[in-house]
């Protein structure tokens, strides 16, 4: 050491002091090395831990589009006024000093006075803002304190949903108050309100992290998860990936700067097979029954050539927007009405006896079994009874002679039960039901479709009696179907025997080319099964259905449409409870044009009068409107679809 050389050799004291000081410096440097080099990461983590807060920022949700690209679910900018508390800390302090001088609080009252001081500042600002917006703005004291304690780094939203007028009024204010900021955020909006509400679905507030997102956040901005319908079916695709915003907070917990650690990845848009115009036609037609808006039922319009759903109506309906806000007690009561059950999608999530509309399958089974000659007339006494002493099944068709066509048009129970009883017909009936996948789910919206019921071959071997066959053949008893299954069934009859998977979503495409979401295309005309019935037998059924609409005494004549041939079948199923008829389910299922079917229209109304009087007119309106739509757009049927 340069110092030691110069110290006199015998200067023990100074050498000792020099050693002490050298040791002291060495201790300090060692300490610093330990803290700044060895444990540096630990302290950096502490710094980040105390000075940063992360916020989950939801991505913009994907849209739901109809087949022509019209948005059924969209996002609209919503303006809110935010108050940044950091910029008010000066005022909080100043007001506290004023109050302190006034009240001279004791030690225990200090906190209370501080709270009061803060709240006074904020509520004064709210009052001023209220005057600007010409609408009173109030801040709940408890809510404000909670926000101040728990969410101090985040701005306090003092006015949600400014009208455009209010935005203008606010922007015109020459001097703004400190800490105020006009914020624009996307908000889910359904431009056509309750149109297709059941299919689109509703959303639920849910801020939790999704897969591939950061799991831990200090704060989460409001986010929504699809609860039903398409919103839930394609929730993860439409939700995208939430981003992470990092906020630097100072020692008082106020925000100083913020930046994105990870930008949100916007969600993909879903294109449906639904045609908004057809959907609106179907919904209007549904409301045309004598029940008006209170009608309970479902309408499906399907393309029988590929299984595409053009319209899916469930009534009564609701405004999906109510689920985005606070639901009032009255609204909640209406939404949960035990009879109207507006939240249930009756097209897929409820099943019913098909009643007489099932006779098209019974007839087909008898034809296929070679037990039915359409030309042979059979006597109908006005009821059907298996044996003397058993309970007769009444027939609404008058007593008389019936061939297939007349039996179809008059919907004779006797005729079809009698044929179902013939050897081999029941087996055929069960086979056809299997191929139509009755009793199986459609998987259109997983978790929100019911399979219905249909007897299997095992079922008919044990504990099965002629009465069961009789009931099944006229769509009662062991069979329950959804309107969607009826549409698939009618399509199979109309298109020559192909059972298609119903399709409602056509494609999912990300809005951002760099999105992590892969585009997804659902191909049309996915074949689920074949009826395996002969073309001639199918044609016999189709012609019988045509007669049901076109004959002057047909039960479905209300569906008659000028310029269009329609084949249909009415049905009025009885809902029994403890042996008594408690309700009726009325049906009309149809296809058009008969020569080359391109539409299947299924109408179901709960508690209707008769299928012919309640449901067939609805289908009639739909067909007439469809013709009008085609003419006005100048599109041929094939182009429209």
């Amino acid at each position: 050491m340069f110092i030691f050389d110069q110290l006199k050799r015998d200067d023990r004291e100074l050498r000792f002091l020099a050693i002490i000081m050298f040791a002291g410096c060495a201790v300090l440097i060692t300490g610093l090395w330990y803290i700044q080099i060895v444990s540096s990461r630990h302290f950096e983590a502490d710094l980040i831990g105390q000075a940063t807060r992360t916020v989950r920022v939801p991505a913009v949700r994907g849209k739901i589009l109809d087949r022509n690209g019209i948005a059924l679910a969209d996002n609209r900018p919503v303006f809110s006024l935010d108050l940044y508390l950091a910029e008010l800390s000066e005022q909080f302090r100043a007001n506290y000093r004023k109050l302190k001088a006034e009240y001279r609080p004791t030690r225990d009252q200090i906190e209370h006075v501080q709270r009061l001081a803060r709240f006074q500042v904020v509520s004064n600002i709210a009052h001023q803002v209220g005057q600007w917006l010409e609408a009173p703005v109030t801040i709940d004291e408890q809510e404000f304190h909670n926000h101040f304690i728990n969410l101090r780094a985040l701005p306090l939203s003092i006015v949600d949903h400014l009208t455009l007028d209010q935005v203008a009024r606010f922007s015109e204010q020459p001097q703004s108050l400190p800490g105020l900021d006009l914020r624009v955020a996307p908000r889910r909006v359904y431009p056509y309100g309750s149109t297709a509400a059941h299919l689109i679905g509703i959303m639920k507030r849910d801020d939790s992290s999704m897969e591939n997102e950061d799991a831990f956040f200090h704060y989460r901005l409001p986010d929504w998860r699809g609860l039903t319908g398409i919103e839930s079916r394609f929730d993860s695709e439409m939700r995208g990936l939430a981003g992470t915003r990092s906020i630097t907070v100072n020692y008082l917990g106020y925000q100083t700067t913020n930046s994105f650690l990870r930008e949100p990845d916007p969600g993909a848009s879903v294109t449906l097979t639904i045609d908004l115009r057809v959907q609106m036609i179907a919904e209007r037609a549904m409301r045309s029954t004598e029940f008006g808006d209170a009608v309970r039922g479902s309408v499906l319009v399907m393309d029988p050539r590929n299984g595409d759903i053009l319209a899916m109506v469930s009534a009564p309906t609701y405004d999906p927007h109510v689920f985005l806000g606070r639901i009032s007690q009255e609204t909640f009561r209406l939404l949960n009405d035990p009879i109207a059950r507006p939240q249930v999608n009756r097209a897929i999530y409820n099943h019913y006896h098909p009643g007489s509309i099932f006779k098209m399958i019974t007839g087909l089974a008898a034809l296929e079994a070679g037990q039915l000659n359409p030309a042979v007339e059979v006597y109908n006494p006005g009821y059907w009874q298996w044996k003397e002493g058993t309970r007769p099944i009444k027939d609404l068709a008058a007593p008389g002679m019936y061939d297939l066509r007349r039996a179809f048009v008059k919907s004779s129970n006797n005729y079809f039960i009698r044929h179902a009883m013939l050897p081999g017909v029941l087996d055929r009936l069960i086979t056809l039901g299997e191929r139509l996948h009755f009793g199986k789910k459609s998987h259109l919206i997983p978790g929100q479709d019911v399979p219905g019921n249909y007897p299997t071959k095992t079922d008919i071997r044990a504990g099965w009696g002629p009465g069961d066959t009789a009931n099944l053949s006229i769509g009662q008893g062991a069979i329950h179907v959804t309107p969607l299954q009826v549409a698939t069934m009618t399509s199979a009859i109309a298109n020559g025997g192909t059972v298609y998977w119903p399709r409602v979503a056509a494609k999912i495409e990300p809005n951002d080319p760099e999105s992590h979401i892969q585009p997804l295309y659902y191909r049309p005309a996915q074949i689920r099964d074949h009826l395996g019935a002969s073309a001639s037998n199918l044609e016999i059924i189709r012609q019988a259905m045509r007669a049901d609409v076109h004959d002057s005494d047909g039960t479905g004549k209300a569906a008659l449409t000028p310029g269009l041939t329609v084949g249909g079948k009415t049905g009025t199923a009885e809902v029994e409870k403890a042996g008594k008829i408690v309700d009726k389910i009325t049906w009309f299922t149809s296809f058009a044009p008969v020569e080359a079917p391109r539409y299947v229209v299924v109408v179901m109304v709960e508690s209707g009068e008769f299928g012919g009087s309640t449901c067939a007119p609805v289908a009639g309106i739909i067909y007439r409107e469809l013709i009008k739509l085609e003419q006005s757009t100048g599109l041929s049927l094939s182009q429209l679809n």
């Binding site: 110092i3 000075a51 100072n250």
Partner: protein, 405 residues
């Protein structure tokens, strides 16, 4: 030819290495006081109101005093050392008078002159060094007499207890290593010193043990904040020291107080630690900018934390290196001094500066308990900056007049 420096009799020079180190430290001081304060001092504040500007003024004043102190031979000045000593004692008594002494943070340490807050304890350190050096420079035979050792002890004890009464434990404690080093270098027999150090160690250990573990009735009465600092240093929970009949609310308050008291130390450590090897860069220290490092202390007692976060381990080592230049060249000055008086003055000055540096930086990295001992030339504050530069002036004076011609 003789030694060329011997010819240069007319212009004996000061030691420029020390001056260079002092200047560098002053540059660091101004830079980091600015850095520590710029978040607090809004952009609208006039430059002359800013802390770093005031500090530069103190540096200028201090350098002036340093120069003035170099002119007169220290042997002549030492004749007035007792005058300085008694003036210092007087000022330490005056500051304790309630009307005169200004109270800040519970301690009466300042005499408010309006334009300047004088801290007599800082000047007393210098006065003690001069007086003690003068006293101990008598022939070594006289120092063997126990009476003279007792007198020397008395000279130290008087300001020690006066400063303790303010209370300012840190400044009082600094007097101990300074006087011990001077007595040791001044050839007070080591047996006396051993006894002194041994006795003092026993007393201090007993005190600390008493404060930390003794039941309530047996504790020596010391200032509450000093007890708390010790508890923080030894990581002892406050609740254990609450009265036995304390209510839950009082216990809660004690816990909160502990969090508050250990807050500074914890934040200082985070500052130093997050600096890493190279630091975040000047004015980029987050701990200070975001206010986690309390703004009341970041520019004085905890200026080293600000510096360590912003220029990292490398910067910290440079700063310690600059101090080391002063210490070791200071010891060389002591070694080359023409007489025992000069040697003792130099040893006193060097030990004073070393004690401050070690205690202050040690406190920033939790090696030492928190005491309000400033870092020479870096911490903002008028009195100690002036005293530090005056001390350097004394050192230069000894160096300048090192030969008898």
């Amino acid at each position: 030819m003789e030694n060329p420096r011997a010819n240069n009799r007319t212009a004996p020079t000061i030691d420029w290495s020390i001056m260079a180190a002092v200047l560098c430290l002053m540059v660091f001081g101004a830079m980091f006081i600015y850095s520590a304060r710029f978040a607090t001092e809004g952009p609208d504040m006039a430059f002359y109101q800013r802390q770093h500007f005031k500090q530069i003024i103190y540096y200028a004043l201090g350098l002036g005093c340093l120069g003035a102190l170099c002119i007169t031979d220290y042997r002549i000045m030492s004749r007035y050392s007792y005058v300085a000593y008694w003036l210092a004692i007087l000022s330490l008594i005056i500051v304790l008078i309630p009307i005169i002494g200004a109270v800040r943070g519970g301690a009466r340490r300042w005499i408010d002159l309006g334009f300047f807050s004088l801290q007599p304890s800082e000047f007393a350190k210098l006065a003690l060094i001069l007086a003690l050096a003068n006293f101990l420079s008598r022939p070594t035979d006289e120092l063997r007499l126990p009476g003279n050792f007792g007198k020397a002890l008395g000279m130290v004890a008087l300001p020690f207890f006066l400063i303790l009464m303010e209370p300012d434990l840190g400044s009082a404690l600094v007097l101990i290593p300074v006087s011990l080093a001077m007595m040791y270098a001044g050839n007070i027999p080591t047996k006396y010193l051993r006894r002194l150090v041994g006795g003092a160690s026993i007393v201090v250990t007993l005190l600390v043990v008493d404060i930390l573990v003794a039941p309530a009735d047996w504790r020596v009465p010391i200032e509450d904040y000093q007890r708390r600092r010790l508890l923080v240093y030894f990581d002892r929970p406050y609740q254990d020291f609450a009265p036995p009949n304390a209510t839950p609310a009082e216990l809660k308050r004690a816990r909160e107080k502990q969090i508050n008291d250990s807050y500074n130390v914890k934040q200082a450590l985070i500052s130093v630690g997050s600096g890493g090897l190279t630091g975040n860069g000047w004015r980029q220290g987050k701990q200070n900018a975001l206010g986690y490092l309390p703004r009341a202390v970041s520019h004085n007692d905890f200026i080293f934390s600000v510096l360590a976060e912003e220029i990292g381990f490398i910067g910290s080592v440079v700063v310690i290196g600059l101090y080391a230049v002063i210490f070791f060249i200071g010891i060389r000055v002591a070694a080359q001094a023409r007489d025992r008086l000069g040697r003792l003055v130099a040893v006193g000055v060097v030990t004073l500066l070393f004690s401050h540096v070690f205690i202050n930086i040690g406190m920033n990295i939790r090696l030492m308990p928190v005491t309000g001992v400033p870092l020479p030339l870096l911490s903002s504050g008028g009195s100690f900056t002036l005293v530090s530069l005056l001390a350097i002036g004394l050192l230069q004076n000894v160096h300048r007049h090192r030969r008898s011609y």
